[in-house]
Every structure is written in structure tokens, then in C-alpha cells.
């Protein structure tokens, strides 16, 4: 069994801090050994989820947490936001661009979940 390291970033649900999430995401994926293009993909996809959380978030959701689950060949990114109304953030959305981008760049996308856990994942090629 692989060991999984977990890094959590908890921050205000504000547009001005998405750039901080992007840099943390770069750091994590660079350290894992993703190539430059994949690091950029991960950064962009994570930021799109943050953007959407920020644009649909109500006053009930002042903060959110981005959880990076790091295993040898795979990064899972989980978004935890207290607001239950965010259960299905891209549902009937007008932000089609964001969703298309996330789906194209990540290997697994679960942004509509009964247990309120939104997650996206990417696998390192040829390292499993």
C-alpha cells in the first residue's frame, strides 16, 4: 500500500486568495514530480473550482479548505466548504467554460456529490 501525505490549505472564500491556492498547488505538484504542463493543468483546474465556489458561495461559506492527498502516482484534490448549498456547484451553471476546462485537464472529476465532497484527481504518467 502507498503512503498518502496530506496537505491542507484553509482560507477565506475570496477572489484575492485564489492566487495563493495556485501557488500552493504548483508547489505540491512540482514536488510530486509532475511535468511542467501537468503542473499548469492542475493549477488551472484547481483555480476553476475555487472560482466557482467563490461565485456561488453564500454568507454561510466564509472559508473553505483545499485538501491535497499525495500518493506516489496520483494527486487527489478535495474541496471542503461548510456551505451545504454547494453540493453540486456546476449544476445548471452558466460557467460552462470552467467545467469544460476542469474536465479536460484532470483525470477524474467529482464535482457533484451526495456527501458534499468535491474532488478532482490527476495521475502521473508512467509512474504507477
Amino acid at each position: 500500500m502507498d503512503n498518502i501525505d496530506v496537505i491542507e490549505l484553509s482560507l477565506p472564500l475570496k477572489a484575492e486568495y485564489v492566487s495563493v491556492v495556485r501557488l500552493t498547488a504548483s508547489g505540491v505538484s512540482n514536488r510530486m514530480g509532475f511535468d511542467i504542463d501537468s503542473i499548469e493543468d492542475i493549477k488551472v483546474a484547481i483555480a476553476e473550482v475555487c472560482n466557482k465556489l467563490i461565485s456561488v458561495g453564500s454568507d454561510n461559506s466564509k472559508r473553505f479548505t483545499v485538501i491535497f492527498q499525495i500518493s506516489k502516482d496520483r494527486l487527489n484534490v478535495i474541496f471542503d466548504c461548510a456551505d451545504k448549498s454547494l453540493k453540486c456547484i456546476f449544476d445548471g451553471s452558466d460557467n460552462e467554460f470552467g467545467l469544460s476546462i476542469i474536465n479536460a485537464l484532470m483525470d477524474e472529476v467529482e464535482l457533484c456529490s451526495d456527501n458534499y465532497i468535491l474532488s478532482i484527481s490527476k495521475v502521473i504518467e508512467g509512474k504507477s
Binding site: A15, N51, E96, F97, G98, I101
Partner: protein
């Protein structure tokens, strides 16, 4: 809090050259949107947006380009996007917007 995007305009003959540099994201986009839409509405020439120093773009930025294009199309003008980085061009391809804008090297 510091801005991450710089914006400069320069008229030249039948078009307006716009130079953007830095990161165009959900935070920096409000300011950018205001400037670009104002230009798109107040002139009737092509907009040539130079992106060689644009390092990052997200869906918010794509939406603003689309909104600006709607405005210039009403006057039968176009938006040219020049020297997009590969990682940014990829986002136009994913969303199909590479067919909507005129993308130039």
C-alpha cells in the same frame, strides 16, 4: 493588495493595440473587464490584444474576452489575440473559443 495585471492601450491606424501582462484571474479581472469593455464600446475598430506577457488566464478572463467580442461584433469588428502562451491557447481550444477569436502568432 497588489494588482497582478497591467493593461496598456495604443491606437495605431485602423486598430487599437492592447498589451496585457501578468495574471488575468477572478481577482484581477474586474478592473480589466471595465477597461476592455469601455474600449470595445467607445470605438469601432479592431482590437488587437497582445498576450506575450500574459502568464495566466482563467474562465473569468475567457468570459470577458467573449463579452468584449460581442460588443465589437455589433460594429462588424474583430478581436485578434496575439502571441498566446501554449498553456493559455489550450484553454481556447478546450472551450472551442479558438474558432471564435482570431488567434495569431
Amino acid at each position: 493588495m497588489s494588482g497582478e495585471l497591467t493593461y496598456n492601450e495604443e491606437r495605431s491606424g485602423a486598430s487599437i493595440n492592447i498589451f496585457i501582462a501578468g495574471e488575468l484571474d477572478i481577482y484581477s479581472s474586474a478592473d480589466f473587464k471595465e477597461k476592455l469593455y469601455r474600449t470595445a464600446e467607445s470605438t469601432d475598430v479592431d482590437l488587437r490584444i497582445h498576450c506575450e506577457n500574459l502568464k495566466y488566464l482563467d474562465s473569468t478572463g475567457l468570459g470577458i474576452f467573449v463579452g468584449a467580442l460581442k460588443r465589437v461584433k455589433q460594429k462588424n469588428k474583430n478581436i485578434f489575440l496575439i502571441n498566446l502562451k501554449d498553456s493559455i491557447k489550450k484553454l481556447f481550444v478546450i472551450t472551442g473559443l479558438d474558432k471564435v477569436f482570431i488567434i495569431e502568432e
